[in-house]
């Protein structure tokens, strides 16, 4: 089997703050094959956007990243700044949220594409720029008659389509889409999700789709990784994870999502932890309805859902319940804990 498009192992990303280092991403591993859409879902502060930026080398100053990150077998973290800059856009691209602010209001659509293409291919002719751009714009549903239009002449959904086309015109093998539909209405959101799905298939692009919306994951993704407090707690085939969630956090998150079939309100007690000083053991244990005494002491390793070693194609979980044999017998009892006061509630 050929190398996956993205192979990330034991990625850690810490931010420096006056109060101490924030462990935004803490030992996260996953890989994405070409043509595959991996959904990264989690609440705000779970580290999902940080991963997306880390993969592209777009972390802010004051952050550190380590671990192993390979793009088609090539070690990205060993490259110097200049080499990574060259890869960005051409091999690895990003679709940002809020398309309304990402396009330059003084530049025509044509100028946006010219700039993008010329940065990476300085020699390319105007006719070639137009041809390549119109090809992508057409696929994405922007009529060629709008080639010379300005961003304000487009609606929000059209602008997001232009952003996607701008990312794709260089034919990158890997694209990060960070909340690509949050600013959009539900009908437009459905159009954009469909475009992303079709593109992954059509251009054989590997896509990391970051969102807090479980519905979008279920709609668009082949596989899903659920993040909580800087860690991937569960990763696997989207259908499998949604129909048979293993980790208590995944289960609780699915239960607390309000859908058209919701008939009772459910919420997770407590609030996400402070990542400067995260809880001992499993990060979720203070809020977990199934926590055992052992969960507060030891951090669960990632195992496939039957308790064996993670392998390609398995759903993997970081929870002691799936590896009960490794839990000392006297530590299997329910965790004793103080009441979560309302004050600690989110």
């Amino acid at each position: 089997m050929s190398d996956p498009t993205i192979y990330a192992q034991h990625i850690r990303i810490w931010y420096g703050t006056p109060a101490g280092p924030v462990r935004a991403v803490d030992d996260v591993s996953f890989s994405i094959q070409n043509g595959e859409i991996l959904g990264l879902v989690g609440e705000s502060g779970s580290g999902k956007s940080t991963i997306g930026r880390g993969l592209l080398g777009l972390l802010p100053p004051g952050s550190v990243m380590d671990g192993e990150l390979a793009f088609k077998g090539e070690d990205l973290l060993a490259l110097d700044q200049k080499e990574r800059f060259k890869r960005r856009g051409r091999d690895l691209a990003m679709i940002f949220q809020e398309p309304l602010t990402r396009l330059n209001p003084l530049m025509r659509v044509s100028e946006h594409f010219t700039e993008t293409l010329r940065t990476h291919f300085p020699k390319i002719s105007d006719a070639e720029v137009e041809k390549r751009s119109l090809d992508v714009l057409q696929v994405i549903g922007i009529p060629p008659s709008r080639w010379k239009a300005y961003p304000h002449e487009f609606s929000g959904g059209m602008r997001q389509r232009i952003m996607i086309a701008l990312a794709l015109v260089l034919r990158p093998a890997f694209v990060v889409a960070d909340e690509p539909t949050t600013a959009l209405d539900v009908l437009v959101e459905a159009q954009i999700i469909r475009i992303l799905r079709d593109l992954a298939e059509q251009f054989d692009t590997a896509l990391l789709l970051i969102t807090h919306n479980l519905g979008i994951i279920a709609e668009a993704c082949d596989r899903v990784a659920v993040m909580y407090a800087g860690k991937i707690v569960e990763i696997g085939d989207a259908r499998d994870v949604f129909s048979d969630p293993q980790h208590p956090y995944t289960q609780e998150l699915l239960r607390s999502t309000i859908t058209l079939t919701t008939d009772g309100l459910h919420s997770i007690p407590g609030a996400p932890p402070d990542l400067i000083d995260p809880p001992s053991g499993c990060h979720f244990h203070p809020r977990c309805p199934k926590a055992m005494a052992h969960c507060a002491v030891a951090e669960p390793p990632v195992r496939n859902k039957r308790g064996g070693k993670p392998e390609p194609g398995t759903t993997d979980v970081a929870c002691w319940i799936n590896q009960l044999a490794d839990v000392p017998e006297d530590a299997r009892g329910p965790l004793e804990r103080g009441e979560i006061s309302v004050a600690d509630e989110a």
Partner: protein, 429 residues
């Protein structure tokens, strides 16, 4: 509509209009031309009984937030009335100005969408939650403190002492929204307008805030106007739902009825478009195309007709729809074909109108016959396209190709089942 006639009406919005004047360009102002008008709320009538939760649901640009703000008098009404009845007295909020309006706002309060922006970062929680009491009732000292403690504890920020000295930046998103709610109920209002109160919050927190709002409603006898784009929370939270599109209510009825029997094509589309957490349920591919149109130049007839999968001849077809159809055709043809057709018809500027009749003229290089052939081809690609049913004449004239469009039918809310719907298709049944 009157489901429980014995419960008094708290809020009666009658034929409300909120229009915003556009400035237009400098030249057109010099020439004395009007800049145009955005009809943000266009002849809307609603009734809320005491203790009821009414959902205003729609996409951005539908006018739901403007309507909510008009209920508080935060934007002036252009026409119509907003009658608020409290303690046996009725007042038309739309006619109040200045001090009278400010005083009235003690009874109608708002919960804002973004708790991070709705709180003053330089004020402690106690100061800003108590601020309305200082402004309206000149309270201070122990009495003020007592009321603030009570308000904080009633929204779950307990023990209140722990929060009073804190600043918004010390609180989580959910805690901030609790503080915002505490501030809005501290004057004992009877109507609360909640503008997307949970859309900025994480999934696991949304349920907590909605539960809190339900608890407060029962405890304090509140009436809610719940503004949202999220049909799933509306279904759970509301007694009745009004679906808005481009300033108008297109469907209104009891929540159960709207969700079990959505009648307006827009409501049906919204319901189908929600991505479900069940991967086995895929969003269908036949969703409405395009986006909500420019409110300054709304479509003729039914505002939804350009996107409506079920549109018919009398829905208000017009030249702009023809332009959208040609542009959509251009996203499908090879580039050289587009270039040829574009050379024949040009930018189609003449179609930027809602006139009943339009003439598409050839460019210098094109002929009338070529234009006619292009439109014939587009028509043959998809003869079932509803637009063509609304075209009553296509004719080659010496100057170009002439199009006539059908006269639109009158669109108004009519009863259908226990709902009311504004759609010619539904009303004809």
């Amino acid at each position: 509509m009157p489901t429980k006639p014995d419960i008094p009406i708290a809020l009666d919005v009658q034929d409300l209009q909120v229009y915003f004047k556009l400035r237009g360009s400098g030249l057109s102002r010099l020439l004395g031309k009007e800049g145009g008008t955005v009809k943000a709320v266009d002849h809307v009538s609603l009734r809320l009984r005491r203790g009821e939760v009414l959902g205003l649901v729609g996409e951005s640009g539908s006018g739901k937030t403007t309507l909510g703000r008009a209920i508080l008098g935060l934007v002036p009404a252009t026409g119509g009335a907003i009658e608020h009845t409290s303690g046996g007295e009725s007042v038309d909020i739309s006619k109040l100005r200045g001090r009278a309006l400010r005083e009235h706002r003690t009874k109608v309060q708002m919960i804002f969408q973004d708790p991070h922006a709705a709180l003053n970062p330089a004020m402690t929680i106690a100061t800003q939650v108590g601020h309305p009491l200082v402004i309206h009732q000149k309270l201070r000292g122990a009495e003020l403190r007592e009321r603030v403690v009570a308000a904080l504890e009633s929204v779950g920020l307990a023990p209140a002492e722990q929060f009073m000295g804190k600043y918004p930046s010390d609180l989580s998103g959910g805690q901030k929204q609790r503080a915002v709610i505490a501030r809005s109920i501290i004057l004992n209002p009877d109507v609360l307008v909640a503008d997307e109160p949970v859309s900025m919050l994480d999934m696991s927190v949304r349920a907590k805030i909605l539960q809190l709002m339900l608890d407060l409603k029962h405890k304090l006898g509140l009436t809610y106007v719940y503004i949202t784009h999220d049909l799933a929370t509306a279904k759970f939270f509301c007694d009745r739902v009004a679906i808005m599109y481009l300033g108008k209510v297109v469907e209104i009825g009891p929540t159960d009825e709207i969700f079990a029997n959505p009648r307006h094509p827009y409501t049906q589309a919204l319901l189908k478009a929600i991505p479900d957490v069940d991967p086995a349920k895929q969003v269908p591919r036949d969703l409405p195309r395009g986006e909500i149109p420019d409110a300054a130049r709304p479509p003729r007839g039914c505002s939804f007709h350009p996107r409506c999968p079920l549109a018919r001849a009398e829905c208000g077809w017009e030249p702009r729809d023809l332009k959208a159809l040609v542009e959509e055709h251009w996203t499908r043809v090879p580039v050289d074909e587009y270039e040829h057709e574009h050379a024949v018809v040009g930018g189609l500027r003449e179609l930027n109108t809602d006139a009943k009749t339009v003439l598409v003229q050839p460019t210098r290089g094109g002929t009338v016959a070529e234009i006619f052939a292009m439109f014939t081809k587009i028509r043959d690609e998809n003869p079932d396209e509803p637009l063509w049913s609304g075209v009553t004449r296509i004719e080659q004239t010496p100057d170009g190709v002439a199009f006539d469009f059908a006269e639109p039918a009158e669109i108004a809310l009519h009863p259908a089942g226990s709902s009311e719907v504004a759609c010619v298709r539904v009303n004809a049944q």
